[in-house]
């Protein structure tokens, strides 16, 4: 195997070694970006002329929603690697990411409801984006429950990978619902490659830093939790060995 090949990280020992060295840097980056972005967003941005101070919820809502969708897409990539190449670390990484994605989805749904109440006059509407997001949350719960319900790890990885493929439809629907369904209360995307469509500059930079912070938080948690899953798998193997002896 080429020394630069990503497949060498499919070896649990190699993964533990490299992720152990990288994790402190990821945590430091997370703390720096989240502290800077959230403090700037909360203390250093003006009120919006229509939304007042509720615009500050943007700095939690947008990054959490982004990570809720992308966490599922990361699980999809890991599940495909498991299905095609049968690397255990990828299946365990998908399992490790699910609770993180679920919490991000809860944060996005909760902050959206709290923000929507004063702006839309309601906590919830069955708007295309909100509905697809809620279904995504149900898929997260189902995915976590399925992993916990099956004792045989490889069979659990197979079935959850299939569930992940099906749920990806709703992850993508959540991402693109604002583009192809114009009806509904949810506004269009806050960030775009076209600067004219972006939020005002006063919010743009702290928002970008918050997004970087949430991405690093997600990566830190997934690395930490994947390491834990690898140890749990080894512990289970040792316990089975001792039980047979």
């Amino acid at each position: 195997m080429h020394p630069m090949s990503i497949w060498r990280y499919a070896n649990p020992v190699e993964f533990l070694r490299v992720s152990g060295a990288a994790l402190p840097w990821f945590w430091a980056g997370t703390a720096l970006c989240l502290a800077t972005g959230l403090a700037w967003g909360f203390f250093g941005t003006p009120d919006d002329y229509r939304q007042g101070s509720t615009v500050k919820i943007l700095f939690l809502h947008v990054p959490a929603a982004l990570m809720a969708i992308n966490a599922w897409l990361m699980m999809l990539a890991a599940s495909l690697i498991w299905i095609i190449r049968r690397h255990h670390v990828s299946a365990l990484a998908a399992r490790a990411a699910a609770p993180v994605g679920a919490v991000m989805t809860v944060i996005a749904l909760f902050t959206g409801a709290v923000w929507g109440q004063p702006m839309w006059g309601t906590w919830w509407v069955w708007d295309p984006r909100l509905t697809s997001f809620f279904i995504l949350f149900v898929f997260y719960l189902g995915y976590i429950a399925l992993w916990n319900a099956i004792d045989e790890p490889d069979r659990a990885a197979d079935l959850t990978a299939v569930l992940c493929l099906v749920g990806s439809v709703f992850a993508l629907l959540s991402r693109y619902a604002v583009f192809f369904w114009s009806q509904g209360l949810h506004q269009g995307p806050s960030l775009s490659l076209d600067r004219q469509e972006n939020v005002d500059n006063a919010f743009y930079w702290p928002l970008l830093i918050c997004i970087a912070g949430f991405i690093l938080l997600f990566l830190s948690l997934v690395l930490l939790r994947t390491r834990t899953e690898i140890r749990a798998r080894r512990l289970r193997a040792l316990q089975n060995l001792q039980a047979r002896a």
Binding site: L38, F42, F43, D47, G52, S53, T54, K56, I57, L60, H61, A64, P99, V100, V103, V106, I107, F110, T111, V114, W115, Q117, P118, L217, L221, L224, R225, R227, T228, R231, A232, R234, L235, L238, Q239, L241, Q242, A245
Partner: protein, 53 residues
């Protein structure tokens, strides 16, 4: 210094409080499980080594 959040103060503080609380709980749960598994694995590996010796 606390910014003046006006009539939406409760809304904004609720959103920040719950979100940061959830993130803190997720980090704490992940770190605790990691530490517990690390200890359990070290114990199990020590037992295997002892039984082999």
């Amino acid at each position: 210094m606390m910014p003046d959040l006006g009539k939406y103060a409760a809304t904004v503080l609720l959103a920040y409080g719950v979100s940061l609380g959830l993130i803190a709980a997720l980090i704490a749960a992940s770190l605790l499980r990691s530490a517990r598994l690390r200890r359990a694995l070290a114990r199990a590996e020590a037992e295997v080594r002892k039984s082999k010796a």
